[in-house]
Symmetry: C2
Subunit: 458 residues, 2 copies
């Protein structure tokens, strides 16, 4: 790696849009979770695909790592530059380029955030449904195969990206997918780049599937005596086939944290939060059927939020639950776990996690997208207490091992980054080597986000 | 390639389950459409994944091509053995291995057909929704990324395969995906093998997403004065967000062919056939909304088929439309086109195709999955009339070129095989070379279904 020559060439291309300032480097070397600071050598702010291609060509010539950056909200250290290199910050490539009203699709640049996108779409009657909570960039969401509260109805980024423009490791530009709704024309390259965490190329344009804003929306929160009742309520709802738009779980500890963080007065017990989308009649019918299942499981305090502002309050509370949990113990750090199991094993997985937390004396509020079998325990620890750190790590490790034993995955939606790399061999077996072979084929000099996702190269 | 040594080794493994009979070779060298006979050197009938791995290892050692075979219903010559080699017929690996009732999934061997699978699932209240018409094998459907009449609601094979067991080109066995509903753990290898047409490995097990049998189902057929009204009715229905389970189009020529083939008495004009799935109330509501749109577009003779036998008759008629078109001109052969365009361009694409058919004096009934923007013209020709062959080929070529110009794809669901190979460069540009690089990485000796899908190797 010849970083000085690369920086000189990059400055020629980008001028002031290549930043070497310490504050900028530190910002782009940080993460929202527990990873140490690993600043890149420079931060590039391209404005066009062509500039991205030039950046990658320069980095390829000098064997300098290239790491994409959206909003820095990833949770597994995906954008940490631990071999140095150039961080490509897409904040100046943040436009909604095209809306296809009749085709219910749009094309965006990677730096646009989901909140900005939905604000720009509002007048069209369309919306982009994937909602990971954080106001993430679409490039980051695509690269992490993000999902969140609405995946139970609308799918993950896997299901909502129709096509991509990608700058490959040699600086060449390809387009994947078409604007047709389906295709059988060869390998599904779109799916290969979705979730690749920038290890195969940098995404410079994304064509997204949009949804029509539903005629009617209704949401509710209800309380349960115990976790088991809440989880079994979810499993029954799925079995019966009620088309939920969201179904979220928070445990008693999360409810307590939300109360102190947001001044709400939830009963300190497990809750489900649900939302239905459809026609007036359809939503009413769904809500009634769900209400019966809730009653069967002893759910209480069940109230429908029909008005938009009440629903916004409900989902803001849910989205802030992560920050509420962090704030429940000032100065702490957190390991945010992200296992996803077959629905049939969900109650077991949650209960055994609770037992682990108790046995290891770890504080870990649990919340998650239970309609997908995906939940998070936010394992809080004091960095200065090595024993507590070790206990939190033990619980995190046991959660992943249990998920894999149950036929599930180490990560439902947060991705691999640094945090889950150690589980790839166990989850994929020899298929992990296939990932390594694909990476080597497309990035022979290992410059695209090196050290992430695939097996270390010999 | 040392075929004699390979055959000797394969006989040791398979005994009588390695067939060299001429009738067997010819059967496995034929296709349902217009491709010439290209028999393999032998047909293998494995019964286990381990036997498949042994077959591939032997073929790898002797550089002998390996071509998978399901039911032989592919339409683009996907299984033609034009470099010879071993055809691996999965008809003896046709079991439903596992049903996950609570998880609404199952695992099958590749040789099971979709009709057998759904018969075996009947008692569970679950069904597998993807329906390409032909009673294809699940292995073939997976490898072709098939879809069909229900994709508008339930998606294609891309959306309904959760995981795979695959024998790679070196005979090693990998597992992709998990039994969780979603995962962000690395490259989406499942999506890479779905639609790869056997060029990256042989699929030996498939985990499928299942659906709950809907509480209520209703279907209808209605006639329109012209193609434009029918297509615009579809476009409006999609815009309004009515969740159709199927919406199919047949033109006047197809209706006429169906009448003579099946003795029905459809008016000889364009038709839409639709089906709704849901609760009693939901289906009623959808049917009413759709009825209003049909009326706006002058649709007539609109009658709901609520009884299962009436629906079966309706969809049998639709599924037989392909054979009815073929039978409309005895002794003819056909090029079955398969373009898919953005919905906004659907009316243009159909109308311009009609104009082409007239201008080139080609008989080509049109039918298709219009909810996806996907339709087929079945271009009939007399093999002995070179001028007619050339005119049919011209229309087929113009259809694909037009689809690509409209932002669509050469193939919505039939795949590439031999028939669409010539369009891959135009559709994918430099991304086609990326497919070639992936193929070379996973199959360095080019033994897996060589000559298909990727660029010819130098």
């Amino acid at each position: 790696m010849n970083i000085d020559a690369a920086l000189a060439a990059l400055t020629t291309v980008l001028g002031q849009r290549l930043s070497l300032s310490k504050s900028d480097l530190d910002l782009h070397g940080s993460s929202e979770t527990h990873f140490p600071l690993t600043p890149p050598d420079a931060v590039a702010y391209p404005q066009t695909t062509q500039e991205v291609a030039q950046i990658v060509k320069i980095c390829a010539a000098h064997h300098v790592p290239v790491i994409g950056w959206g909003t820095g909200t990833s949770l597994e250290g995906q954008a940490q530059a631990f071999s140095g290199g150039i961080c490509v910050d897409f904040s100046q490539m943040n436009k909604l380029l095209r809306i296809g009203q009749a085709d219910m699709d749009c094309t965006v640049q990677p730096g646009i955030t989901r909140e900005v996108l939905n604000t720009e779409l509002r007048a069209t009657g369309l919306f982009f449904p994937v909602d990971p909570g954080a106001n993430a960039s679409l490039g980051g969401m695509t690269s992490t195969r993000a999902s969140g509260t609405t995946a139970v109805r609308y799918g993950t980024m896997r299901d909502n990206v129709l096509g991509l423009e990608v700058v490959l490791a040699d600086g060449s530009v390809i387009h994947t997918g078409t604007r047709a709704r389906k295709s059988s024309a060869g390998y599904d390259l779109t799916a290969l780049f979705v979730g690749a965490e920038g290890t195969l190329g940098l995404i410079t344009e994304i064509t997204l599937r949009l949804q029509g804003q539903p005629e009617a929306v209704t949401a509710a929160i209800c309380a349960f005596d115990d976790i088991d009742s809440a989880v079994r309520c979810v499993m029954d709802t799925i079995q019966i086939g009620i088309p939920m738009a969201r179904i979220e779980f928070v445990d008693a500890a999360t409810a307590a944290a939300v109360n102190s963080y947001a001044g709400s007065n939830l009963p300190e017990c497990p809750h489900l939060m649900v939302e239905f989308h459809g026609s007036d009649g359809g939503v009413r019918e769904q809500a009634e059927s769900f209400g019966e299942i809730v009653a069967d499981h002893g759910g209480k305090g069940f109230e429908w939020a029909i008005k938009a502002e009440d629903r916004t309050a409900l989902w803001t509370m849910r989205h802030n639950a992560h920050y509420a949990c962090m704030a429940s113990r000032p100065g702490c750090r957190a390991i945010v776990t992200d296992i996803c199991v077959p629905i049939s094993r969900l109650a077991d997985a949650v209960n055994e996690t609770r037992a682990d937390l108790a046995a290891h004396n770890v504080t870990g509020p649990i919340l998650g997208h239970v309609g997908d079998g995906n939940f998070h325990a936010i394992l809080l620890f004091d960095e200065a207490d090595p024993d507590e750190v070790a206990r939190a790590e033990t619980v995190a490790h046991r959660m992943v091992t249990r998920a894999l034993d149950m036929g599930g995955t180490a990560t439902g939606e947060h991705g691999i980054g640094i945090g889950k790399l150690r589980y790839m061999a166990a989850e994929h077996g020899p298929a992990w080597d296939v990932m390594g072979a694909l990476k080597a084929a497309l990035d022979p000099h290992n410059i695209m986000n090196p050290g992430k996702l695939v097996p270390p190269r010999n």
